[in-house]
Amino acid sequence: MASIYNFKKIAPVPDAGDFLDIVLSKTQRKTPTVIHPGYKITRIRQFYMRKVKFTQDTFDEKLRQILEEFPMLDNVHPFYADLMNVLYDKDHYKLALGQVNTARHLIDAVAKDYVRLLKFGDSLYRCKQLKRAALGRMATIMKRQKDSLSYLEQVRQHLARLPSIDPNTRTLIVCGFPNVGKSSFMNKVTRADVDVQPYAFTTKSLFVGHMDYKYLRWQVIDTPGILDHPLEERNTIEMQSITALAHLRAAVLFFADLSEQCGYSVREQMSLFESIRPLFANKPTMLVISKTDVCKLEDVGPEERQLVDAVVKDGVEISHMSTYMDTGVIETRNLACEKLLQQRVEMKLKGQQVISVLNKLNVAQPARRDTVDRPVHIPEAVVKRRKYDSQDPGRMVLERDLEADGGGAGVYNVDLKKQYMLASDEWRHDVIPEIMDGKNVADFIDADIEERLAELEREEEKLAAEGLYDSPEESEDEEDRRIRSLASRIRERKQIIAQESRINNIGRSTLTHQQKATAGISAPEDFADHLRQLGLDGDAAQATAERITRKRQRSESRNPAVVLAKRSASLAARAISVQRDRSTMGLRDAHQQAESERIKTRALRNMGSMGRAGEADRRIGTKMPKHLFSGKRGIGTNNRR
C-alpha cells in the first residue's frame, strides 16, 4: 500500500481538559517537588523557572506533534486533498491547525515572559505565585483550543478509517446512479464485501477492493451513487464520487440500469453520463449495462435505444453484464483492465521517463554486404520432425506418459539404468556385486593399480639410494672450535666485570662515616710530594702545613700576651677583605683560564647575535599575572580573585 498516504498512524488528540491534565501532571512528575523558604533565593528561582520552562516544553512538544502528524493539504495527492476538503472542509481544517500553532507560540511567549519575571522574584512566595500565574495563563490559552482539538480528534478518527487508496496504481472506478448494481459488481470482482441493499445510497463513502489481473494488482473503487444535478447542489456523499472521478487516473465503469428498477429512467441516466462526461476525459470509459437478466439492450424501446447509442461514441465502449446470473462480469472487468493497461503503456511511452530507458537500448541492424541471399538454415531433419501434440496418438512417448501408464506419481518407478551406455546393451540391468572373489570391487576400479604401486616403490628405492633422506653429518673444523672458545671466554669475562662492578657499587654506597671522615685527609708529606710531582716547590707548603696541623704538647704552655698579640695581628690582617675573582677561582693556570674564556665567548656568540636575553640576564617576571588578579570564580562565590 502507499505508505505516504497512511493516515492511520496519527496519535490521538486529547481534548483540552485532558491535554492540560497530561501536561501538568507530567510537570509534577518530572520536576523536583521539594523546596523550602530557607534555600538560597537563586535555588528557589531556578526551581520555579524549571517548572515553567518544563511545562512550556511539554506543551510545545505535544502541539508540535499534532502539527507534524496531520497531513498538510498542500503536500498530499490532490485526490486526498480534495477528499479531505469535501469531508472536513479545507478552511476549517487549516484554521484548526493554525490556531493550534498560534497557541504554541503564545505559550512560548508566556513562558519567556514569566521566566524573565522570575529572575526578579525575591521570595519563595513570590516565585511560587509567578509560577502559578504562568501555568494558569498557559492553561487558559489551551482551554481556548477546546473546539479546535475536538475537531481535530474527529478528523483523525475519520481519516484513520478512510480506505487506503493508492492514487497512482491501476484502478477501476465504478460509478453511476444509486442502486444500479455498483456494489454488487464490486463484490463479484473483489473480496471487499461491500454492503448491498435494495435502497438508494447504501454506499455512503468510497470503498476500495483489490483483485488480480494478468498477475498485476488492481484496485477497484466503489463510489456512492450520484444524481444528475449541478455541482453546487451535490452533497458530501456525491462529492466523494466526483473527487475520485476527477483526480484518479483510472478506467471508469459507468453503470446503467435499463430496467429502471433503480427508480431512475434511462433518459436521466444518460443525461447524467453526458453531464459528467468532462470527468472522463483521458480515461478509458465503459458504459456497463447491468441487470441484463431483467432487461437487455435489445429489449428497450427505440427512444431509449437511441439515447444509449448517442452516448456510445468516441472511445466509450459498451458492455453487458448481470451479477445475478453471473454473466459478463469477468468480461467487463477484463475489457476495462485491458483498456486501462493499454492507455497506461501509451502514457508511459509518451512520458519523459521512458526516454531515458529507450536511449540505452540499441537494436543493431547490420548493413547489407552484397546481394547474395543468406536465408536461415534449418536442418531438414528438424523441419521434418513432427511437432509434439499431446492429442496425436502417434506422438513421441515421454517419461510423463510412462508415469501415467505405470500408475501415476508415487507409484511409478523411474528406470534410471535404461539410458546407460555400455559395450553391450544387455548389461544395462546387470547387478554389480560389491565383493567378488574375496576382494572389494571398488578397489579395482583402476585397472593397472598394482603396476602403479610397484612403480612408486621403485622410485622410492632409487631416491633412498641417492641419499636424499640422509641427515647431514656432524662435522666441526678448527676455525669453529676457536670461535666457540673465544665466545665462551668473552662471556665469562663479561660476567666477572658485571659482578665486580656490583661489588664496587655496594662498597661505594655503604661507606661508613669514619671512612668518609678520613677519606679526604692526607698527611702534609703527601701534599708536598704531590706538589713536587707537579713541578712546584713544596717545602714552604709543607712547613705551613706542619705548623698548622702540629698538635701542641701538654708541656708547652703559651704566653697569653703573645697569644693576644698574635690574634690582634691576625684580626688586623683579616680586616682588609681579600678580593678574589670568582671567575678564575676553579682554574689551574693561565692556560686553562684562556681556554674557558674561549668556550664562554663561543657559547654567548649565538645569544648575542640574536639579541636575546641570556640566562644570566636579570629578569623580572610579570608582576601581576592576569590570571591571578582578574576574573570571577566559576562557582560564583566571588566576582574577583
Binding site: L117, K119, D122, L130, R161, L162, P163, K204
Partner: protein, 260 residues
C-alpha cells in the same frame, strides 16, 4: 481491510454477542462500586483532580435533583398579603425592613465621606524599603552600596532619558517595566487592555510615584481613547484614572479598576 464505518457495519451484520445487554447492565451497576474503590485508593495529584471533578459532578447532580423536586413541591409566596383585616399594631411590620436599609445606606455614605481616598482600595499594605529595593554593590571590590534596583514592576514613560549609568541611583529593570494594564470598567462590567499614560499616585510614598512603581493600590492614568467615552459636554475622554487591584509582582500582569 476495514474501511469506513466497519465497526457499525459488523454489528449490523453479525449482531452483538448474546450477553451484551446483560454485561452492559452489570457494568453499569458495578460502576458506582468501582468509582468508590478508585476514590479511596487514589492519592496525590490524581486524587486532587479526581475529587474536584467528583465535587462538580455532585453539585450538578444535587441541582438537578432539586430542580426536579421544585417542579413538584408547592412554593410559599413570600409577599403574600395576609387575608382579612390586620390589627393596627401589625400594620407597620412591612416598613421596618426598608428603614434598616436606609440606615445602612447612611452609614455607608458617612464612611465614604470620612475616607480621604474615594477609591476601591482605600488602604494598602505598607512596603518597606528593603522589600522595594535591592542594594547593588559597586566599586572594584564591591564596597560601595549606594545603588538601588527596584524589584517591583514599574512604569517608565516613553520620554525617559537615562542618566549616565555609572551615576544612576535607581535601576528600573527592563524585565519589570509595563506599558499596558487590564482595566475593568465597573459599570460596563467589561475589561480592556489599555496603555498606561502615567503613574498618578503611589500611596506608599511620593518617591515611588516619581519612580513609577506599580503596586497594589497605585492610581494610574490610562488611555481610554478606544473605549469611546465622552464627557457630559460631549468631549472625547482619553485619559482616565484607574486603581491597581492586584499584586503585579506576583501575577505578572496589571489589573486595574477604572475610577468613574
Amino acid at each position: 481491510m476495514p474501511q469506513n464505518e466497519y465497526i457499525e457495519e459488523s454489528i449490523r451484520r453479525n449482531g452483538r454477542r448474546f450477553d451484551h445487554a446483560e454485561r452492559m447492565r452489570k457494568k453499569e451497576a458495578r460502576k458506582a462500586h468501582k468509582d468508590a474503590d478508585f476514590a479511596q485508593k487514589v492519592h496525590g495529584l490524581r486524587a486532587k483532580l479526581y475529587n474536584k471533578k467528583r465535587h462538580a459532578e455532585k453539585i450538578q447532580m444535587k441541582k438537578t435533583i432539586k430542580m426536579h423536586d421544585e417542579k413538584n413541591a408547592k412554593q410559599k409566596a413570600d409577599d403574600a398579603v395576609p387575608e382579612g383585616a390586620v390589627p393596627a399594631y401589625l400594620l407597620d411590620r412591612e416598613g421596618q425592613q426598608r428603614a434598616k436599609i436606609l440606615s445602612n445606606m447612611l452609614k455607608q455614605k458617612r464612611k465614604e465621606k470620612a475616607g480621604k481616598w474615594n477609591v476601591p482600595l482605600p488602604k494598602v499594605r505598607g512596603i518597606a524599603e528593603d522589600e522595594m529595593f535591592k542594594v547593588i554593590r559597586t566599586g572594584k571590590s564591591k564596597t560601595k552600596a549606594w545603588k538601588r534596583m527596584v524589584t517591583k514592576p514599574t512604569f517608565v514613560g516613553d520620554g525617559f532619558t537615562r542618566k549616565p549609568p555609572k551615576y544612576e541611583r535607581f535601576i528600573r529593570p527592563m524585565a519589570l517595566r509595563y506599558k499596558k494594564a487590564n482595566v475593568t470598567h465597573p459599570e460596563l462590567k467589561a475589561t480592556f487592555q489599555l496603555p498606561i499614560i502615567g503613574v498618578k499616585k503611589n500611596p506608599q510614598s511620593p518617591m515611588y510615584t516619581q519612580l513609577g512603581v506599580l503596586t497594589k493600590g497605585t492610581v494610574i492614568e490610562v488611555n481610554v481613547a478606544e473605549l469611546g467615552l465622552v464627557t457630559t459636554g460631549g468631549k472625547v475622554l482619553w485619559g482616565k484614572y484607574a486603581q491597581i487591584t492586584n499584586n503585579p509582582e506576583n501575577d505578572g500582569c496589571i489589573n486595574a479598576l477604572l475610577l468613574v
